[in-house]
Symmetry: C2
Subunit: 420 residues, 2 copies
């Protein structure tokens, strides 16, 4: 039953840990993304402390302009988690034991071989004025309240529990309850050109966008994401117009485009390797496993990824990767010759079709006048050729690492396409 | 000059990308943490769109209860970045070119070998009613506004630029301008016991805390962080009481404590290795470089970390790590015997004092009735002994990976302490 004609959604995250910065809020981004897919825009996000007055103020204020209020956090079994009793009072309910939740919580404790304590009983209590959003994989149930035509959803703060509840119960139910507008997103990811240069190129494109369309620039480390968004009433019309405009956009950035889907470069690369039936190996010095971690985050990567030799120490480059001692002595660990041998020999050692090697200085220490912090050499090798390239990154260690990972994966991609 | 007696801080993040979930807001956590260190609590965080009305509403509302409003985002050179012109209007100023910023922006373009475009001039414009918080490492200047005794700070959304400006200019200036209360945090990190069991143990401790003190439970993947916080006026008194209470707390969790500092386990382990003059090597299958990436995030890790053999493929375990083919055939890649050989042989191959090996099934696929998803075998070896251990993780791939990384590092720590 579609009881409300349009949705105005806000997210309220609850927890002291968010306000002293010990936890990064990934829940809001996930929720916003998933809501967006079903045509719901989140207009605001508010984070407040584990404090009744702060939660009350947030709910009072946000419900003035929103009719879908999604809360996360504050549902744990400890004394600082006050959200459940607070909501019970806020919606004039009383606490009751939910037998289904109780059986489930007891079963979880049994499965994990842990005694069920008196205080865990509380985890099976819910206000009698809510409908339970059953938490199949954790002990804190989600709750759905309705008041004055508005929906309030309370979810646990543990990300994968929150996601599981929303995927299986929350989002389907929101779709049922609300009429949602049509939204079309199209994303192209570029590498190798700065935001303002791309913007310069796209001045005319942006000027000609219809009023119900927009283009956003989302710069990351080593890449810029361009997101085209159209919204309206007719799902098909919006999508057709988005497709038409997206073709124009893609043509304008074809030389720097990595992919026309909102996906990581590791996914793009994995697909290319799989399609061509090729395998990949790595020899990582400064990136120290970060490239291997990135490629293995792709489901099914074992079909095309053999492994990485993380040769952090000089000696591992010589002994395991067989970089000639003479080369290491003469040119150092960060040099064109060293990465040449690292890539060639890793390819043989790991029995792969292609290998990438990386050696550099990511900071904060280790820079020299010749090789300042940010200097990174890479090589890609296959059976026929080895291509080397020098990169210069200008940021701090953590950012330089991420840029090197992106650049390394893009280097393999460009090598496979014959662009280098 | 301390012009305001106490600080009520809020963070306002600006950007469509935060509301559709394409960007995770790490800036708020960083800001909250750094403000906390100088005794300032953030009472709320609000995220709004790149939209004048939404920003105005947020500033109007938040300034009612706060006297320090920190904004991030929306300062880029593209059309969707409207924060700067909006603030100029909000504070009744007019835009002027700041010559110092202009020279700096031009210099950055020159250094990166990129032409300075007309639109980049805008990056050197600032409202004449603000004081510039100079951005040494980027093109978007920070801005400091004052109105009706309140301070409004606008910062770029790029995390390392925002952090650099705050570290060098923003935070010192906030400390000068405001009187801040004394806050003492003490953190102990535990592993191997669930949140509610720890809470059960600490019932009496929590009951006896003074009114100006609190204990927070911050569960992560594989660990629970316990944070004791006291606040008051007298810096020394607060800290002495925090020390006294923290000793009691530490005694109550001594068997599960990893560290009594708010730091990662990789930092704890690195310190132990360094102090003992020992080196570490890894043989990673399912964690695929994630443990190497974690240990090399520690500054100076090259002193004690040699490298990792990421043996994702069966063949790499046999060929590079010399796991006997017979063992692989008989017991499979995920077995006690396999990780035994992986750790022993990695130690020899990488020439280290200690080696950890990891092989398991993190999901979503690859599970069998015997070895369900989440089954992970690990081994730690030194010159004298090899200890093996089987772990069972119950979550999704990403969480299982993080739990395996934490468990692996804690396994090495416990091995070194003779606890396993």
């Amino acid at each position: 039953m579609k009881s409300v004609s349009s949705v105005h959604a806000v997210i309220v995250t609850i927890g002291d840990e968010l306000l002293i910065g010990q936890t990064i809020d990934t829940n809001s981004a996930w929720l916003a993304r998933e809501l967006n897919k079903i045509g719901i825009w989140v207009s605001r996000r508010v984070a407040v402390a584990d404090d009744s007055d702060a939660i009350r103020k947030a709910l009072d204020e946000e419900s003035r302009n929103a009719n879908l209020i999604i809360m996360t956090g504050g549902l744990g079994p400890t004394a600082d988690d006050i959200t459940k009793p607070f909501l019970c009072q806020y919606f004039n309910g009383r606490m009751i034991i939910n037998e289904e939740v109780l059986a489930h919580v007891k079963q979880i404790f049994e499965k994990r071989n842990r005694p069920f304590l008196e205080r865990n009983l509380k985890q099976a209590e819910v206000p009698d004025v809510c409908q339970v959003l059953f938490n199949e994989i954790g002990t804190a149930p989600g709750m759905w309240f309705e008041q004055d035509g508005k929906v309030y959803i309370s979810l646990p703060g543990v990300p994968f529990e929150m996601e599981h509840i929303m995927e299986h119960v929350g989002l389907p139910r929101i779709s049922e309850q609300f009429n949602t507008p049509a939204i079309a997103h199209r994303t192209v990811i570029t590498a190798g050109m700065g935001e303002s240069f791309i913007a310069e190129r796209l001045v005319d494109f942006e000027a000609e966008l219809p009023a119900y369309g927009s283009l956003a620039y989302l710069p990351g480390l080593g890449m810029v994401k361009l997101r085209l968004t159209l919204s309206g009433i007719d799902h098909d019309a919006i999508n057709n117009e988005a497709d038409r405009l997206f073709e124009i956009l893609k043509n304008k950035v074809s030389d720097i485009a990595v992919t026309d889907t909102d996906e990581g470069i590791e996914v793009v690369l994995g697909r290319m390797l799989k399609e061509r039936g090729l395998t990949l190996g790595l020899a990582e010095s400064c990136t120290a496993g970060n490239i291997a971690a990135a490629v293995t985050s792709v489901p099914g990567s074992s079909a095309w990824f053999n492994g990485s030799v993380v040769s952090y120490a000089y000696e591992v480059k010589a002994k395991v990767l067989q970089v000639p001692q003479e080369v290491l002595d003469r040119t150092g660990a960060v040099s064109e010759e060293t990465v040449y041998y690292m890539a060639s020999n890793a390819r043989t050692l790991l029995d792969t079709d292609i290998a990438l090697s990386v050696s550099g200085i990511l900071g904060p220490d280790g820079g020299t006048p010749d090789k300042p912090v940010g200097t990174v050499w890479m090589a890609v090798a296959d059976a026929n050729r080895v291509v080397t390239k020098k990169f210069n990154f200008h940021y701090k260690r953590e950012q330089n690492t991420k840029m090197a990972v992106y650049a390394g994966l893009d280097f393999i991609r460009r090598f496979m396409l014959g662009l280098v």
